[in-house]
């Protein structure tokens, strides 16, 4: 065979191999090869630090506050207590049912402390009845007192310590989907002494029984309570609806027969929304009045007060105190982002020594701006800056609650 024939033949012999080599390669094979290559290099699907941290917060952090069993108690104990921390034990399955037990104790950075035990039956009768019993012991060592009446002066500030023990029970019945009526009985043991704030005069140094009724002696009280409540808020951290509550309490002085009184508190809040509920107008009227029999006095530490983060925000906590009080509030809230509202507000109010003076004349007032980090169920953090009062500017940082 001649070489010039042999070469093409040899080439021809080789061609099928080349052709076969192309034909055998398919898209499916190419993809399979990629997967086989990845199989050689697979690595565990490990969450990064941020993932692990957020997962831990979701599964452990939030339940640390809301969980059953031992839980962390954070927030405040009472108005003006400052940030408080503590621990509690909670069970929402007491007796294997819906009854809930909550026992906690906590202390604040300002030296306030409280301990409480509460048993609740929130769903008796298929949810129509609620009952609870509670006992509480507390010590508030730096409560502010500026004197009584609308003319009290900021410069007259003193402080006192209020220690108290309370034991009581309440029950309520839902008579309509938004209407509840109820009542309760409490045994209350208040004790007043000098405050611990070294920057302030103590109440005993500056006031006496005449200017601070109840300062000289504190009886134990049996308090009977009746209330009616209409709650049509939607949602609980309301964007529409109303919350109206009237509570009548009789404080019966069981020891001295000198400090018995009856107190009526009415709190009316209405929420009106527009622009798809992203704007809310809130109006609030709250009034408190009291009645004392002859030769009876209402002790100062059980009088209604104005001033503080949820009443007259341009004034200090408990800035005004008297047997009668009126509070008017208006807020315009607008949503910036989901979970964050801003607010413009105006507060006005007064306390009065006589019920006849509980009118719209000479109201103390303030205005301001605020921000609320919130959920449907409540406020997580509220920051309000108030201006325009005769006591100057005030900034409030409040954790929790509804407003």
């Amino acid at each position: 065979m001649k070489l010039n024939r042999l070469v093409p033949l040899c080439l021809l012999a080789m061609l099928p191999f080349g052709t076969v080599a192309i034909a055998q390669e398919t898209r499916e094979e190419a993809q399979k090869q990629q997967r086989e290559e990845k199989q050689q290099t697979v690595t565990p699907n490990e969450p990064n630090l941020l993932e692990r941290a957020l997962k831990a917060v979701e599964t452990g952090g939030i339940p640390l506050i809301t969980r059953d069993g031992v839980y962390a108690k954070l927030g405040s104990i009472t108005t003006g207590s400052g940030f408080a921390y503590g621990a509690g034990y909670r069970s929402r399955r007491l007796f294997g049912s819906d009854a809930a037990l909550d026992v906690w104790g906590g202390a604040s950075l300002k030296g306030y402390w409280a301990a409480e035990a509460r048993v609740r039956f929130p769903n008796l009768g298929g949810g129509r009845f609620l009952a609870e019993g509670y006992g509480r012991r507390s010590e508030y060592p730096q409560e502010d007192y500026f004197g009584l009446g609308p003319d009290s002066l900021r410069s007259a500030q003193a402080d006192f310590q209020l220690r108290a023990q309370t034991i009581g029970a309440r029950a309520a019945m839902r008579v309509a989907p938004v209407v509840s009526i109820g009542g309760g009985l409490e045994y209350y043991e208040p004790r007043v002494s000098d405050g611990t704030d070294k920057a302030l005069a103590s109440i005993g140094e500056q006031y006496d029984e005449a200017s601070a009724p109840g300062l000289s002696a504190q009886p134990n009280y049996l308090r009977t309570i009746a209330f009616v409540e209409i709650d049509s808020r939607q949602p609980l951290n309301a964007r529409k609806g109303g919350w109206y509550r009237a509570e009548l309490s009789h404080y019966d002085d069981r020891d001295l027969s000198a400090y018995s009184f009856t107190r009526l508190d009415v709190d009316l809040r209405q929420y009106v929304s527009f622009l798809s509920e992203r704007r809310v107008l809130m109006g609030r009227v709250a009034a408190s009045t009291s009645e004392t029999a002859s030769r009876q006095q209402m002790p100062f530490y059980l009088m209604p007060t104005l001033g503080g983060n949820d009443s007259l925000r341009g004034y200090r906590d408990y800035r005004f105190r008297g047997p009668h009080a009126l509070l008017l509030q208006a807020e315009y809230r607008f949503e910036i982002w989901s979970g964050l509202d801003a607010a413009l507000f105006y507060d006005a109010g007064k306390v009065a020594m006589r019920r006849a003076d509980l009118d719209l004349d000479d109201l103390e007032s303030d205005y301001g701006v605020g921000f609320r980090f919130n959920t449907d169920n409540g406020i997580v953090l509220r920051v309000d800056a108030a201006f325009g009062s005769r006591d100057g500017k005030h900034v409030w940082i409040v954790f929790g609650g509804r407003f």
Binding site: A13, P44, K55, E58, P63, F334, I336
Partner: protein, 569 residues
Amino acid sequence: MASMFGSSSVAGSRSTARRLCATVVGLTAVVVLGTVSVVTTARPHFYPDDPLWIDNDAVADASSVKAVEDANSYDFVVNTFATPGERRDLRAMNVNTLDEVPNSAWFVNRIGRDAMSIDDVVRGPDRIESISLDGWKVSGGKATGVQPGFRMTDREGHTYQIEFDPPANPELATGAEIIGTAFYHAFGYHTVDVYLAELDPSGLVISDKATYRDRLIGGRKRPFTRSDVDKVLRRAARRADGKYRVLVSRFADGKPLGNFRYYGTRPDDPNDIVPHEHRRELRAARVFGAWLNHDDSRGVNSLDMLVGEQDRRYIKHYMFDFGSIMGSGTVYAQRHRPGNEYILEWKPGWLTLATLGMYARPWTRISYPEVPRAVGRFEADAFEPTSWKPEYPNPAFENMRPEDAFWAARIISRFDDATVRAVVEKARYSDPRATEYMTATLLRRRDKVLRAWLTPINPLVDFSLSASGELTFANAAEQAGVATPPRGYRLQWARFDNLTGIATDAGGETAVGEPRAQAPAALTLPRANADFIQVRVAAIHPDFPSWATPVTVYFRRAGSGWELVGLTR
């Protein structure tokens, strides 16, 4: 060299010839193998098995994958404050050469490729006709999600999740779940079967072994008791006859592995080779989400299940949790923002703050009609498909290109009025007005979706080249009734070299008035020796100038005819 070969030839000995032949063969082999190697590296434009309709992503064993469930907060944080995955204007990476999505562990072509009867669409993933809870036992609590519910086990031992509607909106979430599951199944996603059933609390039996992972005690297991059942029922819509309408969801087969993400690939899954943000069916889920207002379409509402035989396991990817679509917010009527704005969107927030609320986001002005409470908050008047948004940025949605959207819109176009109505009727709303309103709203939203996403790019489809060389095609936008026929078409034929990818013009540009044209004989006749034909087809429409950008179509000779093998839009 030539002289050497010449002198050898003169010698004429056989052994020399053999050696020479061996040498030549060897050299030739090197050359040919080299050529083959080059071909292999360069890859042909179309493989013999193109277009591929099955992406075999069950080929590698994935038995070693471990379950990882994302935290809700992480999913929100990473997608809101970072840009995970690759944001690139890149053609979807898992489409076949026809620009379609092959069947895989992610997606199965259903109504998009094959005709589905109304009954098939309505049945969805359901394996049985209906479910009765008689003889079932409560077998545990439900530890995830906001919807009240628990688990029940049937007589055969299969476990199901039982979920209820919120008291203020009976039939809301269960209806949404039923409708959403049927639609998403027909789209082509893997979904679990869901049923509506009736639960009589008086006959409820709680298994002695029923347990619950209680978050209130740190996720520890504890017995699930009658008190827990009562607590669930108090949060549920109760009918006048004292019974409850419930959604019964069968647990997917396999081992749960947590959720998938809309970006990246799972590092422990050898089959997962396409970044999720570049998967067509995940990108285009934005279109389905817009139609059905599935604002909750995010990673944590997906499910990966390990399935398959021993040593041959793979991950099957599910879409689930449709309780918050359309007008449902699962436990309330949907809020106003979802679908219109991300949870956190800087600009409108700052504007609102700077103007003390005087600036009103457009969606705050949408008025919703008075409708039965089962509908929730759902409307079509203000709906703008291209402006629709999920709860927070979704990397796959962000990468959606016009052809991705077109693909999804075309699937939606397959749902005629009767099919949509039949799916809504599956929700068995007790108030006929709910069925009417839901159907009408879905149809109007469907039409808006089709107008929005079938028309921005050249919508020519269904190309076919007959043995005689006649090309026919259709117009998806016209078929869907969202555009009039084009004035004409311009075609450019070419011979296509599959190895080099070079198209050689054949006959210049031609124009036709109808969606049919004759290919040049120089390409189609057998003697033309053209194995591949490329034709670029532009549509001329005064309302849609973008249609002048041609669709490029490829045909491969198959026997005596032509097979559609490629399409780029």
